[in-house]
């Protein structure tokens, strides 16, 4: 008995740096943010006025809505593409699979300002492809504006896909060949296999990936900032301008927006959990 306890203490001691890190850099700021959000602009009076301001302001509600829409949209599109892409990857030989994964891994780290500038260089108003195609007389990009809603979505989807593939790919390993064989011997077609067994088995990881992508997009800041500056009304951009811009600093209001941002993410996770329990009844 005593020995086990001792071991546990050692293990906890090893965990200590990690726990301190989490408290200092994650829980600490979170608590500070929540606390801050309940103060007036002067930082002295305790009030819920910041939240009232937000819910009365069309501007901020718009920002929240825009962020939700772009996050949902890019997460859904990326998950669908990733489910198909990851499946195709599993059809290659092991060697090629490893190579593709390596590239995916690299590109999944490609986001933020470098990514935006790459897009600007390739598809901006004077971008390489834009000019090339207009020279050729091929006007696919004539109506395309990178600095718009469509452009933003394109870039978001782009940086979400590699991450989504990386997250979903491993779960295909869990689909056993013999399930397919059993299904076909019982009269099932390929599509009925995927409908009744494949997708339901993949579902937990699809749903999990979806929440990560959603959170990833909700919080994305640098990519959007570099591409559309403050021209586009997104929650993350508004928070940034309230806590770090050089015009009018309103950290309390920024904190309140931050709390709402966190709340949407928690909401998304809760929703995912519920959905999963409904569809996969075998999982507790």
């Amino acid at each position: 008995m005593r020995k086990i306890k001792k071991q546990k203490i050692y293990l906890l001691a090893l965990l200590l740096p990690f726990i301190m890190f989490v408290i200092g850099f994650e829980i600490g700021p979170l608590v500070a943010m929540i606390k801050n959000s309940f103060y007036a602009d002067n930082g002295i009076q305790v009030t819920i006025n910041q939240y009232i301001t937000i819910f009365k302001s069309k501007f901020y509600l718009q920002a929240i809505q825009n962020s939700l829409v772009i996050s949902l949209f890019s997460a859904v599109v990326s998950v669908i593409i990733a489910v198909i892409a990851a499946y195709s990857i599993t059809k290659f030989s092991q060697k090629i699979q490893n190579r593709i994964l390596m590239i995916t891994n690299m590109t999944s780290n490609f986001e933020g300002i470098p990514l935006s500038f790459s897009y600007i260089i390739l598809l901006g108003n004077n971008g390489l492809f834009t000019l090339l195609f207009s020279k050729i007389g091929w006007d696919v990009f004539a109506d395309f504006n990178l600095y718009s809603w469509t452009g933003l979505i394109l870039v978001y989807v782009y940086f979400q896909i590699p991450l989504a593939v990386m997250l979903i790919y491993p779960s295909y390993q869990g689909i056993k060949k013999q399930w397919k064989e059993a299904s076909s011997l019982l009269g099932g077609s390929t599509s009925s296999f995927w409908l009744h067994i494949g997708i339901p088995v993949l579902l937990p990881s699809i749903v999990g990936t979806f929440s990560i992508l959603f959170a990833n997009a909700m919080g994305a800041y640098a990519t959007a900032y570099a591409l559309v500056g403050s021209n586009y009304n997104l929650l993350s951009l508004q928070i940034a301008s309230l806590v770090a811009s050089d015009v009018a600093l309103k950290p309390q209001l920024g904190s309140a927006l931050g709390v709402l941002l966190a709340a949407t993410m928690i909401g998304a996770m809760w929703f995912n959990g519920r959905m999963m329990r409904r569809i996969r009844r075998d999982l507790k």
Binding site: K176, S184, L186, G187
Partner: protein, 337 residues
Amino acid sequence: MSYVTIDQVTKGYENQVVLNDISLVLKKGEFATLLGQSGCGKSTLLRSIAGLEDVDLGRILIDGKDITNLSPRQREVGMVFQSYALFPNMNVFDNIAYGLKMKKIKNIKSRVKKMIEMVDLIGKEESYPHQLSGGQQQRVALARALVMEPKVLLLDEPLSALDAKIRKNLQKELKRIQKELDITTIFVTHDQEEAMTMSDRIFVMNKGQVVQSGSPSEIYTSPVNTFVAKFIGNYNVCNMEAFRKLVRSTELKGNEVAIRPEVLQLVSVGEDSLDLQENWVIKGIIKDVSMTGNVLRYEVETEESVFLVDYLHHRGNMFEQGARVHILVPKKECIIL
């Protein structure tokens, strides 16, 4: 008469022939076993019958119909895998009902219920595979295949992942269900004891070929070659030249002689009541005694080779290690190969 016909089937992978011109015929309702060592092609043959592998040459017929080029779902065969392959996201009921739903068959509920009764899983309808024991999962897999009323049931080492006791039980149960439904069954195993107890007919395979087929007792009492003799019954297989030296006789022909361990008798040196008319006599020394269940197995060293001698274990027939003995070999039990 013939219900399942495998006609000169050949199948290879890249640079290796796995099934080498195999032909075999089964009657309706027969329980046939493919028996052979690991890698001899048993699974490949079974999977070819199921349509999960294509064959390179030859034909496969079931109930007079050539199914060689049909897809698995058109073949009306059921299969149970060694790993069960139950659908993890479905409970017992839905697993068993899956095939019926796919084929849009009516009164699914009553058919599934009947099947659940048959495999003795009442009360487990709502359980998921991960909540079941290995034996229970195996029953579900069996029910899932049988509920489709397939023409042929294929079983690929369905019991090998289970421990000995459950395995014995399931063997009996499987046999009972098979008889009850009178379903033609092909069973794969590399356990000769299992093959002996369950089969109407055994096909012994070696290196992609059927080397002998017949009823369990035929195979056991008259193996056609050394491979079968060694594989089936722990036969003592002795080179003929050596055997002639041991028994000091020149009248024997053939290359090898195979003798079952349980037909041999041991007699202490010094006892003179040897029947030399009916038996060959070989001198030896007891090297080792071991016990497996109710059988005592002696390893007796002779001038040429070691003989295994099996005795039923009851008091009074113990020989000590190192004892000098005569081995009595009944002449009519010697199988010349």
